[in-house]
């Protein structure tokens, strides 16, 4: 309040208070995180920086650009999973559209409680998937990848993260600008009472199920808006554009005015409404979906109206551009709010205390178990763990083919899209709250490295990343410490690899009735492939299995510890920066020299799962010989980073090994694919034997079975 008194020197009107409450919420103002986000590297050879973009822009050559953005819709999805997840998709798509690019792909990261014993978690999961499918499918934007994870820390809660990728011509990017007397238009859906106060709702612990704060999705209108806006773009009718998201008009108007250095005067009377009795304050903070703010001029107005008429969507002139840098809200002749735009848009920032959480010192280093479970049984159980089992049940509900760009389909490491200039784009998002809980810094770096590894497996060089940092209440110093550890770790690794951060989001107050969620940073990496991608070809008889990278004593946070032994603790995997870089570079050179048949990332579930996945894909067994100073459980299930499983044809083996040796990469030849059993041996003793068809059945069907039973 002092900040307001100092700057405004008068009492605020009710409307002004509502506007500031929305805009200065954690959700919109990033008041806890903004200072710290500045440490991330944001420039690079491919990065294009423009004023007022909601998405990152990367130059992919030949006059084309790729845009990317990531958002979450956690609070709404935890209350109303179908609508919450669907509107999450809608919001991020409009951010892509704002830059003047066509959305071409969606990715989603979904996290829920334990679906094996929690019916509510199952309900949230099923409906969030349906919501995403319903929205994305209707728009004709393929959902081509993502991840699903279950952990008891998300009990009665949901994390729904959506990343979108856009594509377009560099020459058609919207160069946000405005001149005095330009018109401010609101295009698309009508404004209603849904989503009123949504940003404040999202900036608080979820205590009540405030359903009116959840927005209602309408993918059909969104589709019409996409086509109408792109037509307006082609006709050069748009000077500047912004999506209406969190904070509704308040946020869009103040941020547009602030970023363009202009004033905007708007009349709430001109906003087209869904309900006639909406008060001006509600109009200003409603988060009704499918709306775009467009700045144009008198000359182009009729063209825009004509295009909107063609698509039967509404277009209202709600205000005009002024010189005074003020945000002026009127209701006819009455002034409801008159505040400097930068004062509204730049909420006061807060310095948060941090302290290392006590729980970290209480974690045990290893579990104690009474009797040994046969390794074959463990492998079979891990293959059916909802976190490892195939997510086919999920992605079959998403149209992942529409747009006819999807070269590598969902279900493999990274998904790959073909671009119009003959290049391909490889994209992956990764999170790992189990690792991050045990070691927030290394866990976050690990998510980043895993996403990089996945795009490398397709032959792509990482060119940019987006991050989404999700934590509990930042007012708790222990939680804030975990946030700082994550962002510092991500920054260090991004700088080391020269991968710019081109977008991101912070989501705090992710609290459940049992306390905060585990730290859940999510990293999306985009990679560019100049020629053809390395396709996932199934392994065949006599192909050699080779592991690049070192398996270490790092079982902490592994699926093995948590799912098999119900143990949280131990040492989480650490990324050795130089090893990471070296392995990435070497694997990419092997791919470019056509020396590998396919490359698979080694991550969740460890080496045993990585090799089993390849066997299931090729419907073929394997004969693997392990020799290491580590214990068997560590070799098989440790989730150490920087590892790649290579499938190599015998005649390429010598050439491949000499390159790896030359690059000083650590590697080991593990065995061959053959027969119909997954066999692991050590010193000629068989330690694990499992029929591939049995493994396949567990891997492919367990998630669907869990959903169907109940």
């Amino acid at each position: 309040m002092k900040h307001i008194e100092k700057n405004i020197k008068r009492e605020l009107t009710n409307t002004e208070l509502q506007i500031l409450a929305a805009e200065w919420s954690e959700h919109c103002s990033y008041k806890s995180s903004k200072k710290h986000l500045k440490m991330l590297p944001t420039t690079g050879p491919n990065v294009i920086v423009e004023t007022g973009y909601d998405s990152g822009v990367l130059d992919v050559g030949d006059g084309y650009v790729v845009t990317v953005h990531i958002e979450s819709h956690n609070h709404p999805s935890a209350v109303e999973p179908f609508g919450g997840a669907a509107t999450g998709v809608g919001g991020v798509i409009r951010d892509i559209l704002s830059a003047g690019t066509r959305p071409i792909a969606l990715f989603d990261g979904l996290r829920f409680g334990n679906i094996e014993n929690d019916v509510h978690a199952k309900w949230l999961f099923k409906n969030a998937v349906s919501g995403i499918a319903d929205y994305g499918n209707c728009l004709g934007i393929p959902t081509i990848g993502g991840e699903v994870e279950f952990d008891v820390c998300y009990k009665n809660y949901a994390l729904v993260d959506v990343a979108a990728v856009g594509f377009g011509k560099k020459s058609k990017l919207i160069k946000n600008h405005a001149n005095v007397d330009d018109l401010v238009l609101l295009i698309g859906g009508s404004t209603g009472r849904d989503g009123v106060g949504g940003s404040q709702f999202a900036s608080d612990a979820l205590e009540s199920e405030d359903r009116s704060a959840v927005q209602i999705p309408d993918p059909f209108i969104e589709k019409l808006i996409i086509e109408a806006i792109l037509e307006c773009r082609d006709e050069n009718c748009i000077n500047a554009m912004k999506d209406l998201g969190g904070g509704g008009l308040s946020c869009a108007i103040s941020e547009t005015a602030e970023s363009l250095g202009i004033g905007i005067e708007l009349d709430v009377k001109n906003v087209h409404l869904r309900e006639s009795d909406l008060s001006p304050d509600e109009i200003m903070i409603s988060e009704s979906q499918e709306r775009m703010l467009v700045i144009s001029d008198q000359k182009n107005l009729s063209k825009i109206k004509q295009i909107c008429d063609k698509f039967r969507i509404q277009c209202s002139v709600i205000g005009k551009v002024k010189k005074d840098k003020m945000m002026h809200v009127k209701n006819d002749d009455e002034t409801l709010a008159l505040l400097p735009a930068d004062f509204v848009a730049r909420g006061p920032l807060i310095d948060r205390e941090k302290s290392k959480p006590e729980y970290l010192s209480k974690l045990l280093s290893s579990p104690t178990y009474e009797k040994q479970i046969p390794l074959s049984d463990i492998l079979l159980k891990l293959l059916s763990s909802p976190n490892i089992a195939s997510k086919h049940w999920v992605f079959r509900q998403y149209d992942h083919e529409v747009g006819i760009r999807t070269v590598i389909k969902p279900g493999f490491d990274a998904s790959v899209l073909r671009l119009d200039n003959g290049k391909s784009l490889s994209v992956k998002i990764d999170g790992n709250p189990k690792h991050c809980y045990i070691d927030p810094r290394q866990g976050a770096i690990g998510c980043f490295e895993e996403a990089c590894r996945n795009v490398v497996c397709t032959g792509a060089t990482p060119i940019g990343m987006v991050d989404h940092l999700q934590f509990g209440n930042p007012e708790d110093p222990e939680i804030f410490w975990t946030f700082m550890e994550s962002i510092e770790g991500i920054t260090d690794f991004a700088k080391f690899l020269n991968i710019p951060c081109v977008g991101g989001k912070v989501s705090f107050y992710n609290e459940t009735s049992d306390g905060p969620i585990k730290p859940t940073p999510l990293i999306g990496v985009l990679g560019l492939i100049e020629k053809s991608p390395l396709l996932p070809v199934p392994p065949s008889n006599d192909d050699v299995i080779l592991l690049v990278g070192e398996t270490k004593d790092e079982l902490g946070g592994s699926e093995y510890y948590e799912y098999i032994h119900n143990f949280v603790g131990g040492v989480a995997p650490k990324v050795d920066f130089s090893e990471s870089k070296k392995n990435m570079k070497s694997v990419l050179s092997l791919i470019s020299k056509n020396l590998v048949k396919s490359v698979h990332d080694c991550s969740k579930g460890g080496l045993a799962i990585g090799i089993s996945e390849l066997c299931i894909f090729g419907k073929i067994g394997c004969d693997v010989n392990l020799s290491s100073s580590l214990s068997l459980e560590k070799i098989l299930f440790s989730e150490s980073h920087s590892r790649y499983i290579l499938v190599v044809e015998k005649n390429n083996l010598d050439a491949l090994k000499s390159i790896l040796s030359h690059d000083a990469c650590s590697f080991s030849e593990l065995g061959i694919f053959s027969g119909d059993q997954i066999i692991f041996e050590t010193d000629s003793n068989q330690i694990l034997k499992l029929r591939v068809d049995k493994a396949e059945n567990n891997y492919l069907n367990s998630l669907g079975k869990i959903i169907q039973n109940g």
Binding site: N137, P219, R396, Q397, D399, G403, I404
Partner: protein
């Protein structure tokens, strides 16, 4: 040769279809917005997939009342080849140009999967270069793709050779595993799977040639390119 791709509000495979017709098979292709009329000299029409009118009420039912449909009906009577894919098939059914209905899939979910089609009729303008019983690897992507007709109509369809494609395996509960049908004259064909998603090697790593033959059949029927 001139092909028209009809665009309804909510069509979303229109650009994909255009790309395949125009860039892959070099056909002169134009978009036609649903409120426009169709030129009389057009050689073929494609109704692409998508969610016309957001699938409200029932998939395809609102688009079936679009102004352009009366032109489509006239051209259908004249024997012009007309192909409806996915939502386009649903629209042709709803407008009465093709028999049957498309119901919700047996799984009650949207399904996006690759499957194999079997060619049952190779005398239509879109299948004349295919062999009877030839397999076509192709993706489906729909929520309401379960074809249904009553027993009597099914007998008629079989008798008149109107079943053009069927699924090689049980996919969504379609009666007789029907995936595509034609009108009694054979010039109007509707199919749920997406040939435009399977006619290029880059995106169809199984075998893109059979789907290509659907487009090459059209070229064969109508004659010269361009």
């Amino acid at each position: 040769m001139k092909v028209g791709v009809i665009v309804f509000p909510g069509s979303n495979c229109d650009r994909d279809m255009y790309h395949v017709l125009s860039d892959v098979f070099n056909l002169k292709t134009d978009f036609f917005w649903h409120e426009k009329s169709l030129p009389k000299d057009i050689d073929a029409i494609v109704l692409p997939g998508g969610f016309s009118y957001g699938d409200r009420l029932r998939a395809g039912v609102i688009a079936a009342h679009s102004p352009i449909i009366s032109d489509v009906k006239k051209l259908a009577e004249k024997g012009i080849p007309i192909l409806g894919v996915c939502n386009g098939f649903q629209i042709l059914v709803e407008s009465g140009l093709l028999p049957g209905v498309l119901l919700k899939n047996e799984s009650l979910n949207f399904m996006c999967e690759w499957t194999n089609l079997i060619v049952n009729n190779n005398t239509t303008p879109f299948t004349n270069k295919l062999q009877i019983n030839q397999k076509i690897p192709i993706p489906i992507a729909n929520g309401e793709g379960r074809y249904f007709v009553d027993e009597e109509s099914l007998k008629q369809l079989k008798k008149n050779n109107q079943i053009v494609f069927s699924y090689d395996e049980k996919v969504n509960g379609s009666i007789s595993q029907i995936a595509g049908v034609c009108n009694s004259d054979g010039n109007v064909v509707g199919m749920m799977p997406h040939p435009e998603r399977a006619a290029e090697a880059e995106i169809n790593q199984i075998d893109h040639k059979p789907s290509s033959l659907i487009f090459e059949s059209l070229i064969e029927t109508v004659g010269m390119k361009n």
